[in-house]
């Protein structure tokens, strides 16, 4: 186990440097020659566009790898608790910021082609700076982990419930984000646009789910060799049973709230319902498992 965590720490350490350098490269081109960097007029692709595309791919992979690494760290180490909590939060925000970057690039290109003033560049820069902050903090975190790995025998510290708890927190974040996004779309975006192009929203919904999906996949990865009966202990099963019932009850008034809005397309019921259930189930599971007994 020590060798594996050391190897992953080393790879991610190099990855964090590459990610930071990639961000510097993108920021330099976006701020020195925006038209060329984001290929506003959809001209032929040049080497710079492939490099910028590759840089984005590397940054995305770094984020996914780093988030899974933080789960592993939570499971194996009790140390650096505050730093990794901040990192997990920042990692999720930074991952969402990558979606924002895509929207802003499209929006800037559209405004530029129509000759309108470009107002989104500072948002784009802010999103890249969020990515940079995550890469930098991850770099520092990995430096501290190197020291930790050198002195500790990791096998004695298996704490599976951390992943269970983290998955609930990420479920809450995904639930809230998905719900707010759906309500924003229903309330503020023109009905005609949503009716015709609701499918363009699906990548955003997938993006909201990525951190939760990573936690759940990691959890299943850990449990794959165990019998299904051993996946959860008896208190966890009882708490999930209670939270299922709570979710069932609360989903009725939760869904009734949707009657306050005019739904532009029936598909929005599904999005709303899915994220509502996710929010209710994750928050009630967390409440029954962790909070109820401590108060």
């Amino acid at each position: 186990m020590n060798a594996r965590i050391k190897m992953n720490t080393g790879i991610l350490f190099i990855f964090s440097i590459i990610s930071f350098a990639s961000l510097l490269y993108i920021l330099y081109h976006v701020n020195s020659n925006l038209v060329r960097a984001i290929n506003i007029f959809k001209a032929d692709f040049e080497a710079i566009h492939y490099l910028i595309g590759l840089a984005h791919l590397l940054i995305l992979l770094f984020h996914l790898y780093a988030i899974i690494y933080i789960f592993v760290h939570f499971r194996l180490f009790q140390e650096l608790k505050l730093l990794k909590t901040i990192l997990l939060f920042l990692g999720v925000i930074s991952l969402f910021a990558m979606g924002v970057e895509k929207i802003m690039v499209d929006e800037i290109a559209r405004e530029y082609r129509h000759g309108s003033p470009i107002s989104e560049l500072y948002i784009l820069n802010f999103a890249y700076i969020t990515n940079m902050a995550f890469s930098l903090l991850m770099f520092l975190f990995l430096l501290k982990t190197f020291k930790l790995v050198a002195f500790e025998d990791i096998r004695t510290k298996y704490i599976d419930e951390k992943i269970f708890i983290i998955a609930q927190y990420l479920g809450i974040v995904a639930g809230i984000t998905g719900l707010l996004f759906t309500l924003h779309m229903i309330r503020f975006v023109r009905k005609e646009i949503l009716m015709d192009k609701f499918w363009v929203l699906i990548p955003f919904y997938i993006m909201f789910l990525i951190p939760y999906a990573l936690a759940v996949l990691y959890w299943f990865g850990l449990k794959r060799k165990q019998r299904i009966n051993d996946w959860y202990d008896e208190k966890q099963l009882q708490d999930m049973l209670k939270s299922s019932f709570t979710t069932l009850i609360l989903s009725v008034p939760g869904l009734a709230c949707l009657l306050l809005f005019q739904i532009p397309h029936s598909i929005f019921w599904i999005f709303y319902y899915f994220f509502l259930i996710m929010l209710l189930f994750s928050s009630s599971t967390l409440y029954y498992f962790k909070i109820k007994d401590t108060v």
Binding site: I159, D160, D233, E234, K235, Q236, Q238, D293
Partner: protein
């Protein structure tokens, strides 16, 4: 009527072993041990027996019924 227990005392007698160590030994989460100790969660017979066996004690030495009047 509640299920009381002496798990805290048993852990203390075992060189102040942590809840996590006990949880690992009987195959549950730390949170479950915490809730049992506080009397907020009633374990199954199997888990209760596992805990008692871990401390080399009989079931009644670790778990007991707390009547409402005592409560």
């Amino acid at each position: 009527m509640k299920l009381g227990n002496t798990i805290r005392r048993c852990r203390f007698d075992r060189d102040e072993m942590s809840q996590q160590e006990l949880a690992n030994a009987v195959g549950v989460t730390r949170q479950t041990i915490f809730s049992i100790e506080k009397g907020k969660f009633i374990p199954s017979a199997l888990l209760a027996l596992k805990i008692a066996r871990f401390f080399n004690k009989s079931f009644e030495e670790v778990f007991f019924i707390v009547d409402d009047l005592q409560d």
